[in-house]
């Protein structure tokens, strides 16, 4: 095989205000052969994006390449003239950014942007480029491939834009593609679809690629060769099989440990008896809520419909669903931030006012809301001592020495040292900020903590540590958690009970083990099979499954009548599912599935699907055939 790209002793530095050099990339070596996908994997701060951009002879403003060489087909791109570098960009090396929504120019049609680079560099004529773009739209399975080029970026969906960006990169037939976390911002269901499209075109075009990500499970699906980075240095590199199945370096193992196992029964944590009480901490009864207000008192946009949820003492209730399903809205209703338009709330068995301003101080103290982004949830102008001290003072009247002592105690609970008292949020790392965010709610000494996607913005290792911390806190204090996440594997490894929300309705709920064993609601099934597994070949297997074929490419739509999952459901009954609200079918032990199919029918369809998969695994089929 031919060597396409050689990175030799690459060193990149940043310079701060006082012109002091801060090394970001410290002597990195790796090679890329023709037709190969090399993954750069690491946490934030590992320098993976910086390295990948250097292959286009580009650095973000403020950074500078200080040493090493990058040979593209033998030519050192770092030493090339600016004009030559411009020629290489787009023509020889193409870049795909993390957020397609921001990287498409809002004022130019998609078609012009996709073909621009190929035409400018003289690779193709405008006519040829347009034709090739259309072929690529076909290959990437985009809707209306002959017309999508005439549309503007804001007129198509996020998942589609991400694939259009792949078309943009491929249009000029580059030797190398650089993909920078191209699926990180997407929902799991959309992620698979985009991954599949990428993999297919990379193979068909025989292109080489650098794939930058922090997600090992994704890497396992797409990479041939893996480079593990930490702090701007290579920790370990080898073939995908080597790294995934036989990691040797300590850091790689640590990354692997942080990957949560594929959701299945038996993972949920067990609750001890010591914090048990007869009355649930929080109850939500037949609740409907939304935003805005129509003259008849109903919300202008109804987000949640007819929700029943029980949060038992000392339990963790996981709320799961794609974005737009109303997960955060549910937490906001419980916190009293959004009064429901119908239904009732209870705290410890007593009625609880839907509007926060009508709740007593004690009620407010017992339910604490933890915001998703610690970056924005902590006031940048307050010291950590003030941030954690305020609830102590506000709810419990602590001041002076007493308050300080308690603050230190709480810092210890979240595994931080007393020095943090006098620091500002800006001086903390992402994980530390999230701990402070949790500590502030803990300081109130609550009965229920509502955690809204608290691990989503964190790297895998840091996120795993936060989950460990939450479990320890639950065991120690008996506080209940409502844990909202779009990541089923996180929820299933931590929650006692799971509530599956789809388009504002509970489609399935029950103890974690029950929810994760068949029979499933068809949506739960889709979610479970969409979570990438950290093994080679998973993507191909999954794409051949039946539920993928039907529902995956469609978005969440809130409907007033019928089952909202109707248009994505592989077993939907036309005429019934789209017109009547699905009945809640009780299984055992509080396990409930809302579906028009009976439990027997659901079980049958599970068996049928399993048989189909087994059959397919026996017949060797082309992985890209859908």
């Amino acid at each position: 095989m031919d060597k396409l790209l050689e990175v030799k002793d690459l060193r990149i530095s940043a310079y701060n205000d006082d012109a002091v050099e801060i090394p970001i990339v410290k002597g990195v070596n790796f090679d890329i052969y023709k037709g190969q996908v090399v993954a750069l994997i690491g946490e934030s701060g590992s320098g993976k994006t910086t390295i990948s951009l250097a292959s286009l002879a580009y650095t973000k403003p403020g950074l500078e390449i200080v040493g090493g060489e990058i040979l593209l087909k033998g030519e050192d791109v770092l030493k090339a003239s600016p004009l030559r570098q411009r020629e290489l960009r787009g023509a020889s090396v193409a870049y795909l950014a993390q957020s397609a929504a921001a990287t498409f120019n809002p004022a130019i049609t998609i078609g012009e942007q996709v073909t621009e680079s190929a035409v400018l560099h003289g690779v193709l004529t405008q006519e040829q480029a347009t034709k090739r773009a259309e072929a690529l739209y076909h290959a990437l399975e985009l809707p209306n491939p002959d017309r999508i080029g005439y549309r503007y970026p804001h007129q198509v969906s996020g998942g589609q834009l991400q694939r259009l960006m792949a078309a943009m990169a491929l249009c000029g037939k580059p030797d190398l593609m650089v993909l920078d976390e191209p699926t990180t911002a997407l929902d799991v269901t959309t992620q698979i679809e985009v991954l599949k499209a990428f993999k297919k075109v990379i193979r068909e075009e025989d292109a080489a690629a650098i794939y930058v990500t922090h997600d090992l499970a994704v890497v396992a699906q797409i990479a041939d060769h893996i480079v593990v980075l930490y702090g701007g240095e290579v920790m370990e590199q080898g073939t995908a099989d080597q790294i995934i199945n036989h990691p040797t370096h300590a850091y790689t193992r640590r990354l692997m440990d942080a990957v949560r196992p594929t959701p299945e029964a038996g993972q949920g944590s067990d609750v001890g008896e010591e914090h048990f009480r007869e009355i649930p901490a929080v109850t939500v009864n037949r609740m409907t809520a939304g935003y805005g207000r129509k003259p008849n008192g109903e919300p202008a946009v109804t987000v949640l419909r007819d929700i029943n949820v029980n949060v038992k003492n000392g339990h963790v209730v996981g709320v799961i669903g794609e974005s737009g399903c109303g997960k955060s809205t549910l937490a906001r209703v419980m916190a009293g931030l959004l009064p429901p338009s119908k239904g009732e709330l209870k705290l410890d068995g007593n009625g609880l006012n839907g509007d926060m301003s009508d709740r007593s101080l004690e009620e407010l103290q017992k339910i604490q809301f933890v915001f998703q982004m610690a970056d924005t949830a902590l006031n940048p102008k307050q010291e950590i001592g003030e941030i954690i001290g305020r609830p102590l003072e506000f709810y419990h009247g602590l001041t002076g020495k007493e308050k300080h002592q308690k603050v230190v105690e709480i810092l210890e609970m979240v595994e931080l040292t007393p020095e943090f008292v006098s620091r500002y949020p800006m001086e903390l790392s992402g994980g530390q900020k999230q701990r402070i965010n949790l500590a502030r709610s803990l300081a109130a000494n609550p009965e229920v903590m509502l955690c809204d996607e608290v691990t989503s913005a964190l790297d895998s290792i840091v996120g795993a540590n936060v989950i460990k911390l939450l479990t320890a806190l639950r065991d120690k204090t008996g506080v209940s958690f409502v844990f909202i996440s779009h990541d089923l594997s996180t929820v299933s490894s931590f929650a006692d009970e799971i509530v599956v929300l789809y388009a504002g309705r509970v489609v399935e709920q029950g103890p974690t083990d029950e929810v994760l064993t068949p029979p499933f609601h068809p949506y739960t099934r889709l979610l479970i099979s969409s979570v990438p597994e950290m093994r080679l070949g998973w993507l191909e297997e999954t794409m051949n499954k039946r539920e993928m074929a039907v529902g995956i490419s469609k978005g969440v739509e809130i409907t007033a009548v019928g089952c909202p999952f109707f248009n994505r459901c592989p077993v939907a009954i036309a005429g019934t599912c789209d017109t009547k609200t699905a009945p809640a079918r009780e299984l055992n032990d509080g396990h409930q599935i809302s579906c028009h199919l009976t439990i027997d029918q659901l079980e049958q369809s599970e068996a049928h699907a399993a048989a189909q998969v087994a059959k397919m695994q026996n017949e060797p089929t082309s992985p890209s055939a859908a």
């Binding site: 701060n16 205000d17 801060i22 946490e43 934030s44 701060g45 590992s46 580009y58 403003p61 403020g62 600016p82 004009l83 570098q85 411009r86 930490y230 702090g231 370990e236 590199q237 080898g238 080597q242 040797t248 370096h249 300590a250 850091y251 193992r253 640590r254 916190a335 009293g336 931030l337 926060m356 709740r359 101080l361 407010l364 604490q368 809301f369 915001f371 998703q372 982004m373 924005t376 949830a377 902590l378 006031n379 940048p380 102008k381 307050q382 305020r390 609830p391 506000f394 709810y395 800006m426 001086e427 903390l428 790392s429 992402g430 994980g431 530390q432 502030r440 790297d459 290792i461 840091v462």
Partner: protein
Amino acid sequence: MTEEIVNEMPKGEEIVAEIDKFDELPDAPPKRRIKLTWLGKLSVVIVVFWVVIAFIGPWIAPFHEMDIEGDDSFLDAYDNFYLGTDHLGRDTFSRILWGARMTIGISLAATLLAYCMGITLGIAAAVKGGWFDMIVSRLNDAVLALPSIMLGLIAIAAFGSSIPILITIAAIIYASSVFRIARALGQDIMVQDFVEAAKARGEGIWWIIRAEVLPNAAMPLATDFGLRLVFVVLFISSLSFLGLGVQPPQADWGSMVRENLQGLSYKSYAAIWPAFAIASFTIAINLIVDDVSAKSGGSLAKKMV
């Protein structure tokens, strides 16, 4: 390559110890501190100089602002008339020192008053919202929809000109822009998660304003104060220049330019010096504001080939 790593790998317990070495990497370093360029530092000196003069000017001036002590009008510098004499034969240097108090004093008073009104109403509108916000904002839009000099002319046509009226007019006119900025800032901060967190805790409105909103609005409002002060200085000077602001014989930089304009044809610089005084003060403030709010704009543009 891989073989080497395998050989280097520690085994068993060593790995456990090894794992703890990989701490979470710190986030990006904190945002840059405010660092003044040499131009900015010079500007600070100039602004401080004029503010001090505004306080002590009358005591250190060689002559009284109204005394006609010179030998003739429109004379060049001589003896202890360091900048010559004006159209009545008064000492230009002394009048500039006296005028600092008038020009800077009136502007500062008007800007402070504008800030008191603008911030109170602006933050209140942002926090309260609803009909209160509606009414105040609409009224404010109407005031903003008029060129400030026109509002000044209309008001002076109606009330005549005196120092308290000048201060009030300028304060009301510029309170409308302060209101707009304070309201926008307040609204931005009010939707931040940390304010939502305070609300969810059950905090009262005053605590939220004092502890959450104001500390975060302070810096942008301080920079805006500088800009606003410049506008007020220009406004007051322009009115004085039109003969509708500070009335003679009191010294004010704007009216000094007007009075001595005819002197230009005799090559007298009596009109130029006060104009320079205004320019040095306002340019210096703007340079400081520019330094403080310097954005890294254009760093991407430098990457274009």
